[in-house]
Symmetry: C2
Subunit: 193 residues, 2 copies
């Protein structure tokens, strides 16, 4: 097991309905040392790529993308989930259905911050059905930018998102891929990588 799988085994909580709670260290309370290690690990896995920007989606994605952007020495851009009056009209838009919140959001990125010269590493905390990632890919493509790869902290391997993204030909790196969970016993099985 790698460092993240070990931490999920220790502090992750399995709830009925295939819900994995990692809110004590990853997406509500954040363990900054762990996140820094995640940043270093993604930097190692994408070291051969030319990355000019790290792209993520609010909110918890920001805390994963921060240390990755820090390691690469590039800016981080986060997609916003709803139209703010402080965003100018000139935005890239994608539609994203949230598994967690059971709703549909428009996600937007200002056209000022992504263009055809950009080589984008897309980062998020969770991958399940892949809608958020596909929205971010769509935004990068609207900008004419190159998607160099995608880095995910926790992938639910029993949902379709990972397969869809890999079938599209992208380098998708998930630090922990959950194959199955059992809420009754609290056990979590990870995919061998």
């Amino acid at each position: 097991m790698n460092f993240l799988e070990e931490r999920i085994t220790k502090d992750g909580i399995v709830k009925p309905g295939n819900v994995l709670k990692v809110d004590s260290f990853l997406n509500h309370q954040m363990d900054i040392s762990l996140l820094n290690e995640i940043g270093r690990e993604f930097h190692r896995r994408f070291a051969h790529k030319h990355v000019t920007k790290v792209l993520t989606i609010e909110a918890s994605g920001i805390a994963i993308a921060y240390p990755v952007a820090n390691e690469f020495g590039v800016p981080m851009v986060f997609a916003k989930k709803s139209k703010s009056i402080n965003i100018e009209g000139d935005v890239y838009v994608a539609e994203v259905v949230s598994f967690t919140h059971k709703n549909k959001n428009q996600v937007i990125v200002s056209k000022k911050f992504l263009d055809a010269d950009d080589h984008v590493l897309i980062i998020d905390d969770f991958l399940a059905n892949g809608c958020a990632l596909q929205g971010l890919i769509s935004i990068a493509e609207s900008a004419g930018a190159t998607v160099e790869g995608l880095g995910i902290a926790v992938e639910k391997g029993f949902q379709i998102g990972g397969r869809v993204i890999r079938n599209l030909g992208y380098q998708l790196e998930s630090l922990a891929i959950v194959e199955s969970m059992d809420a009754a016993t609290g056990t979590i099985h990870f995919r061998e990588q």
Copy 2:
């Protein structure tokens, strides 16, 4: 001028209606080097305080709180703006009116992540009317935690929030306090600190 005032002068954009756009480096696209410097500066200003947690509010607050928590070597907790089905019922709640989005949100923090032993440093990117900060103070107080101070990147000194928070007796440190802005000329005047 300090490093943040210089950056705002260089890259901030003044819009009619007292809107200051800093989205090219602070709250949509993030300059990680600048944020790391903000983290070091808040650590310097609150070095005499006993801090066990950094508390912020999603979304852009997360990117300011990250380097601060990193400097202090403590966890970061962010308040969420709406009730997710993945949050358990046991939460601290405060009501926050957003100046930017012209709406009212409940913000919540799980009771698991703040308690009476915590000494909290509250961090956010912007301070205008102070509603978000008062919501975070209220959540910390609901937990019985001690608020050691509040750190803000950009304060709108011509709005009431800063005065309200300082009058409550808190150490509030704003790295840049905008006294006035002129959308016609693009000029920004900062308060001498």
